[in-house]
């Protein structure tokens, strides 16, 4: 480095020393406010994800606990009139095999309940073909079965009845199956 360059560097150092060293406090305040806003948003997002996860897990747990069954049982009729055939396109290929299958969940679900078949819902024909299915057990007033086209006597219409609802991949009901044990009346 020659004398001129050394002089130039001294001048540059003097220049650097004379300049303001830091931005105003406004910049720090702004950044801090932004940081807090981001942290708040991140906390909310995390909480939302956790809540959604818990809700999904709870829904799955309820579905599994209430009716953890796929459709592997033979069709049969129940005493309330003759069941209609489900449209071929309305059920998955794996559904309704010809012979009853032993189930691990027999402790929870009785054999006679499993033996019942599904009645198609009135609009099942209009829905897209079933690809995956889920069965959810619900309790209904007997009168609501009239919607299915079942002849329900007036004196029974207020009684509760348990039914399995067959839900498709879109969450829409394709069929309903009554749980026979819930139909027995005390003498």
């Amino acid at each position: 480095m020659n004398e001129n360059e050394r002089e130039l560097l001294d001048g540059l150092r003097a220049l650097d020393a004379k300049e303001p060293r830091e931005p105003s406090a406004r910049v720090e305040r702004f950044l801090l406010a932004q940081f807090r806003a981001r942290a708040r948003r991140r906390r909310l997002t995390r909480w939302g994800s956790a809540a959604a996860g818990i809700a999904a897990a709870a829904a799955i747990a309820v579905a599994v606990w209430v009716a953890p069954r796929t459709l592997r049982h033979s069709p049969s009729t129940i005493s309330h009139g003759a069941p209609r055939e489900l449209p071929k396109s309305g059920l998955p290929d794996v559904a309704l095999p010809t012979s009853p299958q032993p189930r691990a969940s027999n402790a929870i679900v009785q054999a006679d309940e499993v033996a019942a078949s599904f009645y198609p819902t009135p609009d099942a024909d209009a829905l897209p073909p079933l690809e995956t299915a889920m069965v959810v057990r619900v309790q209904l007033p007997m009168s609501s079965l009239r919607w299915m086209g079942l002849p329900i006597a007036e004196d029974l219409s207020g009684d509760p009845v348990q039914a399995d609802v067959l839900l498709g991949q879109d969450g829409l009901a394709r069929g309903v199956r009554l749980v026979p044990s819930s139909l027995r009346r005390e003498p």
């Binding site: 360059e5 910049v27 932004q34």
Partner: protein, 192 residues
């Protein structure tokens, strides 16, 4: 305390990403000065320098994981972001920026205030003409002077910031110094 040098930049960034406000603040306070000075020396305007400082730390806040220690120091990472923002600001302001006739609100006015001794004035004038000479350099030469001579980065670090080869840094620095000396001689001749 997170302000202590025992906490590495990587630690502070990791803590800041986890939402630790003190870590972010410590990181900001550690590096804001160099980012601000770089932007000021490149642009010559306090407003631009503050805007760039703000933008650089907003980028860090938004994506602290962008920093990869294998690719260089945190300082080089920050200078790199600052450089992009400064060049964008200079492009935006080019039609309005007259480097040799600095505007009234320029920080040079603040620098010159209260310096009424004759000797000091002469030295100040010389520094001031050097500042103007630096600002009058084309950006590619200006940034190499700012990084290597004012911020004392080594050639490898400056090359990482500028995204070019070390040889390019060396040759640009040589050329930039020659241009500065030429400008300073011309300024002295005018003064005489």
């Amino acid at each position: 305390m997170l302000d202590s040098p025992s906490h590495s930049d990587g630690d502070l960034l990791r803590l800041a990403f986890a939402g630790n406000e003190q870590a972010f603040l410590a990181f900001y306070r550690r590096h804001q000065g160099s980012v601000f000075r770089f932007a000021l020396q490149m642009s010559g305007k306090v407003e631009i320098a503050e805007e760039v400082t703000q933008d650089v730390f907003m980028v860090v806040m938004g994506a602290p994981k962008q920093y990869d220690p294998k690719r260089g120091s945190v300082a080089a990472f920050l200078y790199g972001i600052a450089r992009n923002h400064v060049l964008r600001c200079l492009d935006r302001e080019r039609p309005y920026l007259t480097v040799l006739d600095a505007p009234e609100n320029d920080y040079s006015n603040r620098m010159a205030a209260d310096q009424d001794l004759v000797g000091e004035l002469a030295r100040t004038e010389r520094v001031e003409s050097l500042r103007k000479a630096v600002l009058a350099l084309p950006p590619a030469y200006r940034e190499v002077v700012v990084l290597c001579d004012l911020h004392e980065l080594d050639y490898a670090e400056a090359a990482a910031v500028m995204g070019c080869a070390i040889g390019t840094v060396r040759s640009r620095l040589h050329r930039a110094r020659a241009l500065l000396m030429e400008k300073m001689r011309a300024a002295e001749r005018c003064a005489v």
